[in-house]
């Protein structure tokens, strides 16, 4: 028996970083918190950030994007079970736009599937900031996020000009309903605007000599 997918009902995302609504996604790598913040700007509404009580790395108010601190709630449950329970409960609740969680242990398939079902019930998007290879295969997409340095010649004058360089390499390593890929993005964190930066590469053929 074949299942006919209604391709027309699945609109193509406007840009590659749009997370599918009502699903749970995963992000890993050292830049995953930046990616999560980038996503908060694309989800107007209440944002819940669930992180373990013993996690020393906490978001700092004055470094957050404009307008996020009013709608951000931090949950600091004591145990991993409580953390997953909080995520599931928050995903099930309608008034939340985005749930960000930082689980410390491997997400089992059962846990991942439960979260997907909760997200579908509450029509909420979830983003799990996992450790390396600690994800569950029930995830909709998995992103690998790394901060990238801008390799420009360092001269005394250029240092100040390029001081705001905030390049990120966001690679989509798993996607259930689409293609994978990787992008280098310049996103400075204050607003939702970002620039796609073409990859640096070797020029294939020599440039035309000037006449």
């Amino acid at each position: 028996m074949t299942t006919l997918h209604n391709l027309a009902s699945r609109p193509a995302p406007a840009d590659p970083f749009t997370l599918t609504k009502t699903r749970v996604h995963e992000a890993e790598g050292p830049g995953r918190r930046s990616f999560a913040l980038f996503q908060t700007l694309r989800h107007p509404g209440a944002v819940l950030w669930v992180l373990p009580a013993h996690e020393p790395q906490r978001p700092m108010l004055r470094g957050l994007p404009v307008g996020l601190s009013e709608r951000l709630l931090l949950l600091t449950p004591r145990s991993e079970t409580d953390l997953l329970w909080c995520v599931e409960e928050a995903l099930r609740a309608a008034p939340v736009a985005l749930v960000i969680a930082e689980p410390q242990q491997l997400l089992s398939l059962t846990a991942g599937r439960r979260l997907q079902l909760a997200a579908e019930t509450g029509r909420t998007t979830g983003l799990m900031l996992i450790r390396e290879d600690h994800g569950s295969s029930a995830t909709e997409t998995r992103w690998r996020c790394d901060p990238v340095s801008a390799h420009v010649p360092v001269s005394r004058a250029a240092t100040h000009a390029a001081a705001d360089s905030t390049l990120h390499r966001w690679a989509l390593s798993k996607n259930k309903k689409g293609t994978i890929g990787h992008w280098v993005v310049n996103w400075h964190g204050a607003s939702a605007a970002f620039d796609l930066v073409p990859e640096t590469g070797e020029r294939r053929q020599p440039a035309e000599p000037a006449r």
Partner: protein, 444 residues
């Protein structure tokens, strides 16, 4: 008498400091108890109660029987009291403090005649002045003509005298009882099923919410006490993210707690009370999506808080400090309102903040190369320094090392780190190479 003199007379004297708050509370509970004798009972000063027993005494068999009943009950409770019954409030006050007893009707002037004038609720100076002119007892004072008394000692004395003799009315003003938010239910047969408890709870909640609505209050905390057949008591307590009086939404929060109750041989009584309430004026319900959204979010906070604790559902609020750790505070979301963040200005702040972690093998100023978390970093760009001085009015152990110079270090490996250097702290020995550099944050 000073305490030293008292100790000198009686070396074994045991003393305790006065606890005014508990005394007032004890008097208030005694006042509630005393309402079994009269409908109007008011507290009178710090140590007295005044009851209006007009038309009540015959229920106890007469005034003398009422008084002896009162004494017997209080004596059984371990309290020694002195009481008086008289036709006026002033006379009862005076007699209760000077021996006690009963003054029969129409016998007022005679009954109080032998009491000293200081029993008249007048200030000390007036009482002394009266004693100096030879008016030491009440009967001397009553016999005096009014006009000279008023001219010499003021109107207050005459007013008190008139109140004592009943020429001026003085009703007993009992304060309004504070509303009591508690309901109970006794069951003819013990119950043990969760659905039965929830059904009983919903009936209790309906009654409690009606009381809350009557007094324009909303509950912030609810306590359900279940009394078992074996006289054990089980408590289920829930907190609410904001004041509310909606029985259906409250019942949903009780479900988990009731699920964990051990019913034993059955539950035969339930008591529901709201220990913490807040004023909640009536409001239009269900109007507009904004209100429903807020309600739903408050419900979510209640559900989360009841499981992980309300002090773990936090909201960030800006604080007025340049110190990074204290530039914001985490407050319980249930007890706070969202506050807009201050506009961004000045040097950039990192996205995440953590306790300072020293770097090793740092070379240069700012360090051109360093190691942090067992990773090797090479500085690509450095932005700074931004000098932040500790707050001298607040002794923070983390800031004892003096001022800090913060640098935004962009590394060749990618991470953009917030490093600081403490120029005032003595350098570590060079071979370790730390040189007082620490990482405290990570930028976007």
């Amino acid at each position: 008498m000073p305490l030293a003199d008292a100790r000198a007379i009686c070396p074994d004297l045991s003393t305790r400091p006065t606890d005014l708050a508990r005394e007032v509370a004890a008097l208030a509970s005694l006042r509630r108890w005393a309402s079994r004798y009269a409908p109007m009972v008011a507290s009178d000063g710090a140590d007295g109660l005044m009851a209006d027993i007009t038309g009540v005494a015959h229920l106890f068999g007469g005034e003398a029987e009422l008084r002896s009943d009162l004494h017997a009950r209080l004596e059984r409770a371990g309290l020694s009291v002195s009481s008086a019954i008289a036709g006026t409030r002033g006379a009862a006050y005076a007699l209760a403090r000077h021996g006690g007893g009963i003054i029969a009707d129409g016998d007022l002037a005679q009954g109080v005649g032998r009491l000293p004038v200081s029993a008249l609720r007048i200030d000390h100076a007036t009482a002394e002045a009266l004693a100096r002119v030879g008016l030491s007892q009440m009967r001397d004072l009553i016999a005096q003509p009014r006009a000279p008394l008023a001219r010499r000692f003021g109107q207050a004395l005459v007013l008190r005298l008139d109140q004592l003799l009943g020429h001026q009315p003085e009703p007993v003003a009992a304060g309004a009882e504070p509303p009591h938010f508690g309901v109970r239910m006794t069951l003819p047969e013990p119950i043990g099923l969760q659905s039965d408890v929830m059904a009983g709870l919903s009936r209790l909640l309906d009654r409690l919410c009606a009381t809350l609505a009557l007094h324009h209050h909303g509950a912030r905390r609810l306590r359900l006490e279940l009394r078992r057949v074996d006289h054990g008591t089980v408590q289920v307590e829930i907190g609410l993210a904001r004041a509310m009086r909606d029985p259906v939404r409250m019942a949903a929060l009780f479900a988990k707690g009731v699920d964990e109750v051990d019913a034993g041989f059955g539950i035969d009584a339930m008591r529901l009370s709201a220990p913490i309430t807040e004023p909640l004026p009536p409001e239009q319900i269900g109007s507009g999506p904004v209100l429903r959204h807020e309600d739903a979010l408050a419900d979510l906070i209640s559900r989360l808080g009841n499981r992980i604790g309300f002090d773990r559902v936090l909201r960030m609020q800006p604080a007025d400090s340049k110190i990074p750790e204290r530039s914001f505070q985490l407050v319980a979301a249930a007890w706070s309102e969202p506050v807009a963040a201050p506009p961004r200005h000045g040097p950039a702040r990192p996205l995440t903040l953590f306790p300072p972690e020293p770097v090793s093998h740092a070379s240069g100023h700012p360090p051109a190369q360093f190691r942090w978390r067992r990773m090797r970093f090479t500085t690509l760009r450095a932005h700074g320094p931004e000098r932040i001085a500790p707050e001298w009015w607040f002794d923070d152990p983390a800031w004892r090392s003096g001022m800090r110079d913060y640098w935004r270090i962009e590394t060749r490996e990618g991470p953009r780190l917030w490093l600081f250097h403490t120029p005032q702290a003595p350098d570590w020995p060079v071979p370790a190479g730390a040189q007082n550099w620490c990482v405290q944050g990570e930028f976007i």
